[in-house]
Amino acid sequence: MPITRDEVAHLAMLSRLALTDAELDHFAGQLDAIVNAVARVQEVAADQIPPTSHALPITNVFRDDVIVPPLSADAALAEAPAAEQGRFRVPRILAED
C-alpha cells in the first residue's frame, strides 16, 4: 500500500509537524520507499515468537517512597519560552481537557 500525500499529511498532523505542500510531496515519496524497504520484516514467519523490548531480562526495578529535593521553581522555569505567576505560559489550547 503506497504512502500517499494525504497519509503523510495525516501523519504530520498526528505528530504536530507543520509541513509545506512541497514537503508533503517530497516526504511521501521517501517514506513510501522506506516503508517498502522495512516491510521486509513481514517475510519472517514469527507466529510463536515473543516480541523483545529489552535485551536483558531485568524485572522489578523500583525506588523507595522517599522524597528527593526537587528543583526550585526558578530552575524549573529558567528555560521556559514564557512564564507567568510561577507557571509555564502556553498559547490557548484548542483540545478539551
Binding site: H54, L71, F88, P91, R92, I93
Partner: protein, 499 residues
Amino acid sequence: MTETRELLPYDEALSRYEPVIGLETHVELGTATKMFCGSPATFGAEPNTHVCPVCLGLPGSLPVPNRAAIEYTIKIGLALNCSIARSCRFARKNYFYPDMPKNFQISQYDEPLCTEGWLDVAVGETTIRVGIERVHLEEDTGKSLHVGGATGRIHGADHSLVDYNRAGIPLVEVVTKPIPGTDDQAPVVARAYVTELRDLLRALDVSDVRMEEGSLRCDVNTSIAPRGSNTWGTRTETKNVNSLRSVERAVRFEIERQAAVLDSGGRVVQETRHFHEDSGTTTAGRSKEEAQDYRYFPEPDLVPVAPSPEWVEELRAALPELPAARRARLQAEWNLSDLDMAALGNAGALDLVAETVAAGAQPDQARNWWLGELSRRANESGTELAALSVTPADVARVCALVAEGTLNDRLARQVLDGLLAGEGSPDEIVAARGLAVVSDDTALLAAVDQAIAGNPEVADKIRSGKTAAAGALVGAVMKATGGRADAARVRELILQRLS
C-alpha cells in the same frame, strides 16, 4: 452544532428503555513521592516547586517506579477481588497536550496489574455485584489555568498557565465492566458504587479520596437500549463529575437525554460529555467517533513488574477490615436488621455510631442520638451529619452522663444545643449552664412539698390510692426545678410523702 435540550421524563424513559452504566474512577495515591521520581506528592504547594527533571519530562530524564505505589495498587486489586498479574508492563499513551510534559503518559495498556475482580454494592435491600475489568497504574498530568475566557474554562481562553506539581503523581484507574440490569436504579447504583469504592480506598489508607480536591475522579459511561431489544446502545462518557451527587445526576440526565434522542428517531453520538454542576446537565465535548489513536507500545524505559506470589500474599494478609466485612460484623454485634443497617448507611451515620460505641456508648443509644436528634439538626441546617460540630466522643459522653443519672433526656438535648453552638465539652456545658439533674433529695423534697401544698386536691387523690395522679405533681416539680429533676425519683418521693 446546536445542543437540543430535549429530555424525556425519567419514568417515561425507563418505561421504554433499559440503561447500562459503567464507571472509570481515577484515584490519586497518597504516597509521599510521585510515581516515577522522588518529587513530593503533597497537595497545595506553590506552583512548580514539586518538580524535577523526571516529572518535567526534561530531555534525558528517565522514570523509576515508586515501590509504594505498586504496593498500594496491588492492595486495591486484592480488595476488589482481582487477579494480580504475574508480570505486567507499563505502556506509553501518546498524545499532545500542554499539561503532559512528555506528550505521552506512562500508563498500562494490555498488561494491567490487576484484572477480573468485583465489588458488592448494596442499594436499598438488594446487593449488586459490580464486575471490575481492571485496575492499573499511571501518572497524573499537570494542571492548567485557562486565562482570559469568561468562565476560567478552556473555551474562549487567551492563554493558559501550567503548573506541573501534579504531573507524575501516581494515579490508579479502576474500570468496571458494563453494569446492566440496574433498571431505574441506575443513577443510584452508580452513586452507591462510587461511595463503596471510596470507602474501601479509605479503609485501605491508600488515598485521601477527596472528590472535591480531585484525588478521586469519576467518568461515568451511560447507554440505553429499547426494552427487550437484547442489544446495548451507544454509550457516552461523562467527565467532570466531581461529587457523589453529581454521579447520580449525570447518569439520570444522560438517560433522559438519550431517550429523547432515540424517541425522536435520532442516533446517540458516541462522545465525551462534560457535566455541569450548576445545571445538572451534560454538554458535548470531544467527539469519540474518530477515536484517538494513542499508538500504545510497551514503555522501553521501564522493565516489567512481576510481583512475587510471596509479596502478594504478604499484602493480602495485611489487608485491613474492608467496609463490607466491617458492616457485617457491626450488624451482628449490634444485632440489627438489614433495614436498620441500611438506615445507618443512608444517613451517613455508620462510622459516627461505630466511633461513639468505641468511645463507650451502647449501640442503641448511639443510634438513637445520631439517627434522631442529630439527623434532625443536620437536616435543619442543611449540613452533613459528619460536618456537625458534635463528635462521637461528645455523644458518648452525653450517653454516659444520662446513664449515670446526671442528665435526663431533656437536659441531654440542651447539652446538644450547647455542643452545636460550640460552647465546649459536654461537662463544661453542663457546668456552665447548670444542667445537672438535681439528685439531692433534700432539694427535691422541698419542691415536692411545695407541689403538694399547691395542689391539695391532687394530693388527696393520691392519698386515696389514685397513684396515676402523681403525674401532675411530677410535672409541677419538673417545672419548678427547670426540668432538672430526675422524674422517676420525684415520683417516688411524692408517693412516699403521700402514703
